[in-house]
């Protein structure tokens, strides 16, 4: 499986409600050094590159912060285990 097959896909929660489009994939290092997919950054609207300002702890100039707030409105990180990719209508 490739990242391009996941990025831009519509994500649904376990009940089949639409969460948005996958904008990024978050991985964490395990004790063996491998990086495991743990969450997806999901945006409610159009999937565009979010330029990284959505990451926690980033201090950008005021103007960039305002712009990022508009661009990233509604973006949230959802645990990978809580995401399903098949639409409810495909069941």
């Amino acid at each position: 499986m490739r990242a391009s097959e996941l990025l831009g896909r519509v994500a649904y929660d376990q009940e089949g409600h639409r969460l948005g489009k996958i904008a990024d994939l978050l991985t964490e290092a395990g004790p063996d050094g491998t990086h495991q997919l743990v969450a997806a950054l999901v945006t409610p609207g159009h999937r565009g590159r979010l330029l990284g300002y959505e990451r926690p702890g980033i201090n950008a100039p005021w103007l960039i912060n305002r712009l990022a707030a508009v661009l990233h409105r509604g973006a949230r990180e959802i645990p990978w285990a809580d995401i399903r990719l098949d639409s409810p209508s495909e069941q």
């Binding site: 499986m1 490739r2 990242a3 391009s4 990025l7 904008a23 990024d24 994939l25 978050l26 991985t27 964490e28 290092a29 395990g30 050094g33 491998t34 990086h35 495991q36 997919l37 743990v38 969450a39 950054l41 590159r49 979010l50 990284g52 990451r55 990978w80």
Partner: protein, 134 residues
């Protein structure tokens, strides 16, 4: 012994990996990350296994007419022995920063298709290009 690695944690696939330049330990450029390969094990764990370089994965990632054109171009440049995109095991990634440093020398990998095509069809045909000592 496992080499000491510097990778962001959490690591964001789109932000930290895609389209970043890959360099070998000597600083030679390998190409940019065109896609990232995952493996899903029997327990459902999804882990990063490799970085992919090449016009073929780039075209497939971009999609649409532009992506089809890039993939078709990559297909034309393929030789019969070409195994496909250049695949760098993620285990060999030492550092993820503004560039991605791997622990293996560039010479150990196949030449990227675009570079090989340019070398064989254009650069190699320039008189004197084969051996600078002659």
């Amino acid at each position: 012994m496992t080499p000491h690695r510097h990778r962001p944690d959490p690591l964001r696939v789109d932000f930290h990996l895609l389209d970043r330049q890959i360099i070998d330990p000597a600083g030679q450029k390998m190409g940019k990350v065109d896609d990232v390969e995952f493996d899903v094990d029997e327990h459902g764990r999804t882990t990063i296994t490799a970085l992919l370089i090449g016009q073929q994965p780039l075209g497939e990632r971009i999609g649409g007419r532009l992506g089809q054109w890039i993939s078709a171009l990559a297909h034309r440049m393929r030789s019969d022995s070409d195994p496909g995109p250049l695949r760098i095991p993620f285990d060999d990634v030492i550092e993820v920063d503004s560039e991605i440093t791997i622990g293996l020398r560039r010479e150990l990998f196949d030449t990227p298709p675009l570079e090989r095509w340019l070398r064989d069809r254009i650069i190699g045909r320039i008189p004197g290009a084969r051996d600078a000592r002659k």
